[in-house]
């Protein structure tokens, strides 16, 4: 494996700036890596056929003395939920096979403007509905730590691409944990920003009031660097915040010194006790807390009595909004069309949506249609929106006592492909710790906390901060990351099995 591949995005950017490495070299190295291992991993749905040209352009501009962004020339993998003008955007669905967007998602446009080099589009559960990437219409992605296991979802492709060194950085989207849970099971970092902190324009909507685009990387600093590029106000998204955000990269660099842990109050949620968590996940979580405590942090128990309603509320709000957001896939203007001889346009729409949507999508669309139906709205959607209020209050009360909240990022390590596929309720419980964060709109980050003793698979710890305090998460995340990497003697991914080693 080329040395370039092992570099963090920050280090690669430094070598690009110094001229030690060119963007063409870096891009080609990643394309070669994709060619070598993606047959096994299947992180990508599409690989750009002109990434090297884009890289060459960056190299030319750099040589010409142009002032370029900090990440200029660094390759980037893009979750297929984000629309791109130069590559198909399918959101993992057959119904959008080959779809070409006439415009770029805002985050993609910003990444291009900053000189990042799009490598390709990454695999995902269809329309981001899932926690395992098994619901992709194009086949599952495999976890680089164990190819028989799930890479998490819905953004399993982005996490696996980064974990497999196919890309140093990736973009993800997180509606109930789709950035953080894949990070947890692949030993990578994933950040779900404050709702409104990153534009949703051009992110194919799953649940509009929960969706948030965010960075995926191998280190906290790398996520922060990418967040700096994609974040900030976008007039195309009415829910986009107008806040002036601090530099997240500066926050991560400051955090890495470790000072932030001294006197930091870290909340742990009483109601999230160890039951329901895999033993190795709980142990890794406790060990991380102990390390932080040893570095001067104070662990405080807080109560979040309404978290137990989070999954239920989520599985009402998400399907309801999704049933409406996915109505546009009707065969009229774009996407698949199934012709029905002698049929009306209604027949064509219904046949297309039957053939074009996978089981999980149909399940949730029907569920959401039910939740919004006359006579059920108040009991279901209306009540779920009230649970959001209660969960926000839980967070408010907790953050009155602590600076950040810590939870395991997910209850178990990567499970085997197929293991939960036919048990939607078990699948839904994967996101028990990440969902409340989306419901409340607050930011959350998952960073590797270690490997579970019983299976040797990665575990993540999630930190949650009050709304708009994304920088705090980069500070705290970088501080713990520094402690842990130090204790491990190197990044956690050094301990992942070698992929395609012979090739």
């Amino acid at each position: 494996m080329s040395d370039i591949l092992k570099l963090t995005a920050a280090d690669l950017a430094a070598k690009l700036r110094s001229g030690e490495v060119s963007s063409v070299e870096a891009t080609q190295a990643h394309l070669d890596r994709i060619a070598a291992v993606d047959g096994d991993v299947h992180a990508f749905l599409h690989v750009s056929d002109h990434a090297v040209d884009v890289a060459a352009d960056i190299d030319r501009r750099r040589a010409a003395g142009e002032e370029l962004g900090e990440l200029a020339g660094v390759p980037l993998a893009i979750k297929d939920v984000l629309v791109t003008t130069d590559m198909p955007s399918t959101s993992g669905s057959k119904i959008l096979e080959g779809y070409m967007s006439p415009y770029d998602a805002t985050v993609v446009a910003r990444a291009r403007a900053a000189g990042l080099v799009p490598l390709g589009k990454t695999n995902m559960d269809e329309f981001a509905m899932g926690s395992s990437t098994e619901h992709s219409a194009y086949g599952p992605t495999h976890n680089p730590w164990d190819l028989d296991r799930i890479p998490g979802g819905s953004g399993g492709g982005s996490a696996a691409a980064v974990a497999a060194f196919e890309a140093p950085l990736a973009l993800g989207s997180d509606t109930g944990g789709s950035i953080r849970q894949p990070a947890h099971v692949t030993g990578t970092v994933g950040m779900k920003p404050t709702y409104g902190g990153v534009s949703r324009y051009g992110a194919i909507a799953l649940a509009s009031s929960l969706d948030q685009v965010g960075p995926v990387s191998r280190t906290v600093l790398d996520s922060a660097l990418l967040h700096d590029v994609i974040g900030g106000h976008d007039p195309h998204d009415a829910t986009s915040l107008t806040d002036a955000w601090p530099s997240f990269a500066a926050a991560a660099r400051e955090g890495a010194t470790g000072d932030v842990l001294k006197g930091l109050k870290v909340g742990v949620i009483r109601e999230l006790d160890d039951t329901g968590f895999q033993k190795g996940v709980s142990e890794s979580f406790r060990a991380s807390l102990a390390a932080m405590e040893a570095a001067g942090a104070e662990i405080v128990e807080v109560s979040a009595p309404h978290f137990e309603y989070g999954v239920a509320a989520y599985y009402l709000i998400l399907p309801a909004e999704a049933s409406s957001n996915l109505a546009k896939f009707d065969s009229v203007r774009f996407g698949m069309r199934v012709n029905v001889p002698g049929g009306t346009v209604e027949d064509v729409m219904a046949a297309t949506r039957d053939a074009g949507f996978g089981d999980e999508v149909k399940r949730r669309v029907i569920l959401g249609t039910y939740a919004l139906s006359a006579g059920y709205y108040d009991a279901y959607y209306g009540s779920a929106q009230k649970v959001r209020t209660l969960i926000q209050r839980d967070f408010d009360e907790a953050f009155a006592q602590v600076d950040v909240i810590a939870t395991p990022s997910a209850p178990t390590t990567a499970f085997r492909l197929g293991e939960k596929l036919n048990d939607p309720i078990q699948m839904y419980l994967n996101d028990v710790t990440t969902i409340p964060v989306n419901l409340a709109g607050v930011p959350g980050i998952s960073i590797p906390s270690g490997l579970a003793a019983e299976d040797g698979l990665p575990v993540g710890i999630q930190f949650v901060a009050p709304a708009r305090e994304d920088a705090r998460l980069y500070r705290v995340g970088a501080a713990l990351e520094a402690l842990l990497v130090d204790s491990w003697g190197g990044p956690i991914l050094d301990r992942a099995p070698i992929l395609g080693g012979a090739r």
């Binding site: 984000l82 629309v83 955007s89 959101s91 959008l96 779809y99 967007s101 006439p102 415009y103 998602a105 949703r200 324009y201 051009g202 992110a203 194919i204 909507a205 649940a207 509009s208 009031s209 007039p235 195309h236 998204d237 009415a238 829910t239 309801a320 909004e321 049933s323 409406s324 109505a327 546009k328 009707d330 009229v332 203007r333 774009f334 346009v345 209604e346 729409m349 249609t369 919004l372 139906s373 006359a374 709205y377 959607y381």
Partner: protein, 505 residues
């Protein structure tokens, strides 16, 4: 389609009390759409746009697209709400109305549901004879229009039997305000007249605000008329029908009359009214059943998660209130005085929905009397014949120009009517029609004298009578001369010349 049985209107009113209700959709004439920055086809700048050339990603529901609210559309909506005497909600919200239809790019319409921007108002309308009636307004809410479907094949243009349809999304996302009345009681025999006058009043209001072109024939203003009947003395409201696709004020009047007669015949025969939407057919003057109300009307409304509440400040509302034009009732009183019309003359104009046209024609230089005469006379007659609105036929500027040609003696009244037809047929401005058709009055006495001499020579008995002092006999020659001149002569001048040639002046 079987012909409906109809009861005589007066008989129907003896037995039943009509209750009306209206939903009027007003297309705002903003530069851009309600939720996108694509050009607005309801603004005159974009009338000629080709299909699908006024489309932004959200108008066609492209993946990843998001709506953003047009501030001007909100201001217009608040102004309209205030002009309707409504309260403006301190906080209102958008909602999604979910239903599948190919003209709806997202397969939901962004509308307002339980939190409209304006609510609880009233509109005073004036009827023939000067009576007024107050129409109670329930709400006015903001929403977006749908695209346009054209049905092809089969009996072309009709949805039934069409082989395929073509979809144009230009109109998708045009800003609409939907004005919903409460049930209107006590209209009695005047129900059809009230319907027409209500729509005219809304049209006058939105025109005076300058927020819509308000051309019904263009669909800028669309009326759904709800009609129900209840037996005399009954408290409970009858089942209503909602007649859609009523695209002229005259049709609103006719559709309400038709529904009263149709429903009365059914009820008197012991039948029941089906709650349904009905379609108005301009050609036959009838309504036909559309879709019955069913559980397919489960629109699954929920708050639009892509948009945020609209919370107009007290200051904004005060600013917009201060900018309102005078109320139409005040405006009418002022016009009546300014123009010097009698009650009857003024009502003729007002009830014809022609105040704005007459006002603009006067502004373009015509006298009030001539402006009134054109609009309530010839233009209305032609519009009725074509089943359209007078305003759709000709512009006030053209009418004023036409009258100038009459005043200058270039045209006689009769010639002017021919020129008007030419203008309506799209042959150009009045002067251009005069030039192209060669319609100007012949003012060359030589040509007239030659024709007069010919006519007098052909009718020696008439000449003798005139010379005998029976000057009224000249009338018989005038007709012949005018015919010879193909009407392009001034009859008064012809008469003068006849008497001159006969030696009587």
């Amino acid at each position: 389609m079987a012909k409906d049985a109809l009861m005589d209107f007066d008989k129907a009113l003896e037995l039943f009390e009509p209750v009306l209700g209206f939903e009027v959709h007003v297309e705002l004439n903003t530069q851009t759409k309600m939720f996108s920055s694509a050009g607005n086809p309801a603004n005159s700048a974009n009338h000629d746009a080709a299909p699908n050339t006024l489309v932004a990603p959200v108008d066609m529901g492209l993946p990843g697209s998001l709506p953003v609210v047009n501030e001007t559309a909100v201001r217009y909506s608040i102004s309209l709400g205030l002009a309707l005497g409504c309260s403006i909600a301190p906080s209102s919200r958008f909602a999604r109305k979910n239903y599948f239809y190919p003209d709806l790019g997202k397969n939901y319409q962004i509308s307002q549901y339980d939190e409209p921007i304006a609510f609880e108002g009233s509109v005073e309308i004036e009827l023939k004879g000067g009576d007024t009636i107050v129409v109670p307004i329930e709400r006015a809410h903001m929403e977006e229009d749908a695209g346009k479907l054209t049905h092809m094949g089969g009996s072309t243009g009709r949805i039934q039997g069409a082989e395929y349809s073509l979809v144009d999304y230009n109109r998708a996302g045009v800003p609409l305000v939907e004005i919903v009345t409460k049930p209107i009681f006590g209209t009695e025999h005047r129900a059809p007249e009230v319907a027409k006058a209500y729509v005219a009043a809304i049209r006058d209001i939105v025109r005076s605000l300058g927020i819509s072109e308000a051309r019904m024939e263009r669909g800028n203003l669309r009326c759904d008329a709800n009609v129900s009947l209840r037996p005399r003395g009954q408290e409970k409201l009858g089942t209503r029908t909602e007649t859609k696709n009523v695209n002229s004020m005259r049709s609103v009047e006719r559709a309400v009359r038709y529904e009263i007669q149709r429903q009365a015949a059914i009820l008197a025969g012991g039948g029941t009214i089906t709650q349904e939407t009905r379609h108005w057919h301009e050609d036959t003057g009838r309504t036909s059943p559309g879709r019955p109300k069913s559980d397919a009307d489960d629109y699954r409304y929920f708050p639009e998660p892509d948009l945020l509440p609209v919370e107009p400040s007290e200051e904004l509302i005060a600013e917009l209130r201060a900018g309102l034009p005078e109320a139409p009732s005040v405006y009418r009183r002022r016009l009546k005085t300014d123009w010097g019309f009698t009650d009857l003359e003024f009502q003729d104009v007002a009830n014809g929905g022609l105040l704005a046209e007459v006002e603009a024609t006067i502004a373009a230089g015509a006298t009030p009397a001539s402006a009134r005469k054109w609009w309530t006379g010839e233009i209305t007659r032609l519009a009725n014949a074509q089943g359209t609105e007078p305003a759709a036929l000709v512009t006030p500027e053209s009418v004023a120009e036409l009258q100038k040609l009459v005043d200058a003696g270039t045209l006689t009244d009769k010639l002017a009517r021919q020129v008007l037809e030419g203008v309506i047929a799209g042959e150009g401005s009045p002067q251009e029609v005069v030039d192209a058709r060669g319609l100007a009055v012949v003012s060359d006495d030589g040509a007239l004298i030659a024709a007069i001499d010919d006519a007098l020579a052909a009718q020696p008995d008439v000449l003798a009578k005139i010379q005998d002092g029976k000057v009224q006999a000249a009338g018989a020659v005038i007709g012949a001369v005018m015919k010879a001149m193909k009407g392009q002569a001034d009859a008064a001048r012809v008469r003068e010349l006849i008497l001159e040639r006969a030696g009587q002046s």
